[in-house]
């Protein structure tokens, strides 16, 4: 095998596209942890709900995708608010392990509820986007869109957090929970807003995933653990760290899988994660 061939370049670029997707998924989780200090272990299951929303609105109720997808984003944003109000709020002052267990419970609840409500069949939109060819290389249009959306999502969130009053309040409360109420900021409202924003990002992720994957109640298993590990590796709550970790992780998976067996790509990525936890247990970027 030549070390630098066209296929290696394809693997690198595919890793980049996968990184964009993982970065988008980790963005919402990091935002929520950064502000509310609670890890939504059930984050991937919210994405699953969003995928079902797109599927049913588009396939069963014949909504066009340009309407079904924003609707799904709104639905998942509302789910995020519900999750906060019903589950997270009562345990805000509890030990972190209890918060983790509660959201873990929601994970199993959502999986079981989806099985009962939607059945076990794999469902898909039946939408096939054309591949994008560049010479001998060919790429998924859905992945390219996901990559673009991830970039826009990051930029949009950055602008929102830096340039708006609410964004400033969110950043402020994430830096000092105790002092902000004294300055007239309501933590409750900020937490609710953040949950809606985190949910909306999960909704955006679901719109992009549903173009590439079948929907089934266990789809969260494919993305939940890896998203969580990326957030931990980047430094829980650090959005920049999450982004970098997502791209590093994706390159390990893609290029590692290209040079060695596919399984080794994941082994190398997880070995790197374990190594990082020894060297920098707080993650690449401390919040």
């Amino acid at each position: 095998m030549e070390i630098f061939d066209i296929y290696l370049l394809e693997a690198v670029l595919n890793g980049l596209l996968l990184g964009g997707l993982l970065a988008l998924l980790s963005l919402g989780l990091n935002l929520i942890f950064g502000v509310i200090d609670v890890v939504w272990i059930c984050y991937a299951e919210l994405i699953m709900c969003g995928m079902y929303a797109v599927y049913y609105l588009h396939v069963q109720y014949h909504w066009p995708l340009y309407a079904a997808m924003p609707a799904a984003i709104v639905i998942v944003a509302m789910l995020g608010v519900l999750l906060h109000q019903l589950v997270i709020k009562p345990v805000l002052a509890a030990e972190p392990i209890n918060q983790l267990l509660v959201t873990g419970g929601v994970l199993f609840f959502l999986q079981a509820a989806a099985t009962l409500a939607f059945g076990i069949d794999f469902k898909n939109l039946g939408v096939s986007l054309p591949a994008v060819r560049i010479g001998e290389m060919s790429f998924s249009a859905a992945r390219l869109i996901a990559f673009g959306a991830a970039v826009l999502g990051v930029l949009g969130l950055f602008v929102f957090l830096r340039k708006t009053y609410l964004g400033t309040a969110i950043r402020a409360i994430s830096q000092d929970r105790a002092i902000m109420p004294l300055m007239g900021v309501s933590p409750g409202r900020i937490y609710t807003l953040t949950s809606a924003l985190g949910g909306a990002l999960a909704g955006l992720g679901s719109c992009l995933l549903v173009l590439q994957y079948d929907v089934h109640p266990a789809i969260g298993l494919s993305f939940g653990p890896i998203t969580f590990l990326i957030c931990v590796m980047g430094g829980l709550g650090s959005m920049a760290g999450g982004l970098i970790a997502a791209f590093v992780f994706a390159q390990f998976i893609s290029v590692g899988g290209f040079f060695f067996a596919v399984e080794w790509g994941y082994v190398i990525a997880f070995a790197f994660f374990i190594g990082m936890m020894f060297v920098r247990p707080q993650g690449l970027f401390r919040r």
Partner: protein, 427 residues
Amino acid sequence: MTFIRPLAAMAALALAVAAQAQQKEIKIGFIYDVSGPFAGGGSEPAQIGTKAIVDYVNEHGGVAGYKIVPIFADAQSKVDVAINEMTRLIDQEKVDIISGVYSSAQCVPMVQQADARKKFTWLNVCVATAVFKDKKLQYVFRPQAHSDQFGAWSCDYITHYAKSKFGTDPKNLRVAIIHEDGPYGVGVAAGNEAQCKKDGLNIVLKEGYSATAPDLSSLVTKLKRARPDVLLHTGYNPDITLFLRQAKEQGLKFKAVIGHGAGHSQFDKLSQTFGKDVNYFHTIDPAAAQLLDPKTLKPGVWAMTQEMVKRYQAVKGPGELPPHVSMGFNNTWILLNDVLPRAIKKYGGFDSESLRKAALETDIPVGGTMQGYGVKFYPPGHPLAGQNERAFPVVMQFVDGKARIVWPMAIASEPVLPFPKGHAYAP
């Protein structure tokens, strides 16, 4: 006091009748996955088939006067849950027999524990050869074909057609073996590799992957570089869908694909997702009973197949039945119609020892079961003791929405090889 004696006698009689009624039941714990990814990969159809035959048998008087009481447990597509459910079925539900089991990843550890506890276990679906190979199991039996056979048959099939259909000698036919990395995928792939080498085929890539991997693009890239003519693929449902989607998007081309059961046998689902793109795909599995020629079966067997089709379609509606329905229906039928009656009548009961002796005497000729194969189990001392030596899979091809058997030659129709021009994956 004169009324006490008759009262006591009546009470004793009532107790005896109740005890008799209790004894007239045989509890079978069936373990399948009706949640998680395996459910849609064939486990649910297998459970529907199993329930259908149990209902049928009970409606016709049970087995030797005993009513079959099925207790279905959901393994949730998880190995630990399967083992826990098996323990619960044995210890709490007090089942007489353990049966079912879709996933080889569950079968391998489960049966060792069941056998150690001397609990008679009857496997309907899982195929890994590793379940039995050199394990010296005594109370575990499987009428189903095993993965080495699956792996070997796909190689033999393409070797046979190398010259006439692909226009080249077997040594020039480029074959890639890709598989999920559980016992099922690894077992089939090992069978592929051994037989393809024996047949002189050119193996250009052999690689495993996790069935829950979120990305297989690097595998597709490697396949593009390896340029296989034929893909031998073993996987479940989510991973097959992901692979085919990424393969198409990345422009992977090949001339034929042979799947090995599980997700590849769920053609209706693949078809819903990919439409014409999966036309001319193959799968290897024990024959879906409804595809066999009734003339090749013993008298009365075809009527059971029709019963199966009727009952399955009553649950799921019209459409192609996946082979897993036959596995649940037919293999449970063999237990209830052959092994269990002999255990009761000849050995006096349905304890594990009686069932074991009865199973070892099973001798059903080819054509005697709904899936066409016969049943005779390898005896103790054989490396595959407990495995049905007369089971065989078939190669099926899906052409325009219909499955048809294309291998072995004796019962095959003409396959479409390679993909016609214009097919989504054709070079």
